[in-house]
């Protein structure tokens, strides 16, 4: 029964994620794409919950949907862009080649996953539930990974300074 529930939830969430990803790539107006990307991030947060990574799911909603997508939508609204003209009508060999290339990439990744991992990891580890909490992640982040943690802070500072300098009107 539990297995069935997991399968149903997984199928529901992944169909939602893949559908919204395809819609995001094919919509003409950037604002529609942004909204479909938000739906995709929401479905991914559900997938993280299925994988028993609760804290990552919350962070996904807060950071991706709350911060990054608000920034993207803000910029789209600010720039007042026109729709990309004739996206679906205009056919070119470049687009066909891109489609073929990405299908090929998916086949490569899918086959390597299928032959490399089938029957190897069949169930989520019993400790996963404890691992995904804020407590264990925070402990690991501060104790074992303290240097990368500090470097990440430095990276964010550099990004803030860089964004302000780049978006400034004139350098004086």
């Amino acid at each position: 029964m539990e297995w069935k529930l997991e399968l149903i939830l997984f199928v529901l969430l992944s169909v939602m994620a893949v559908f919204s990803a395809i819609m995001m790539v094919t919509r003409r107006s950037p604002i529609n794409s942004a909204i479909f990307l938000i739906i995709n991030f929401f479905a991914s947060a559900g997938i993280y919950l299925l994988l028993q990574a609760q804290f990552i799911a919350v962070i996904q909603v807060l950071v991706y949907m709350g911060a990054i997508m608000v920034l993207v939508i803000f910029v789209i609204m600010l720039l007042n862009l026109q729709d990309e003209s004739k996206l679906s009508e205009q056919f070119s060999y470049k687009k066909l080649t891109s489609l073929l290339l990405s299908v090929l990439l998916f086949c490569l990744l899918g086959f390597s996953v299928f032959f490399g991992f089938s029957g190897k990891f069949t169930s989520i580890s019993g400790e996963a539930e404890k691992l995904g909490t804020a407590e264990s992640l925070g402990k690991e982040l501060v104790l074992a990974y303290s240097v990368p943690f500090e470097i990440a802070g430095l990276l964010l500072l550099a990004a803030v300074v860089g964004a302000v300098v780049l978006a400034k009107k004139s350098f004086d």
Partner: protein, 100 residues
Amino acid sequence: MLEINYYLILSALLFSIGVLGVLVRRNAIIIFMSIELMLNAINISLVSFSSYLGEISGQIFVFMVLTVAAAEAAVGLAIIISLYRNKSTVNIDEINILKW
């Protein structure tokens, strides 16, 4: 329980759709969003390995990817704004001053 295959193939599918978006679209903002989609696909496979192996470092890596994505969003959108201010377009076919 589901096998890890399901999650990894979902991740591969989302990553390929992101690659398709980067290759096909000409709007810089949509290319940017496709890159976010690819980063998110990688996060799914990192988290699935982390929970199937019972090992926390995968989730720490997701943390780092999220940090880089946030930094990338700030800097990338600032670049797009200053590009739009200088050239009044975000179509990447018209932004080619670095091409020789």
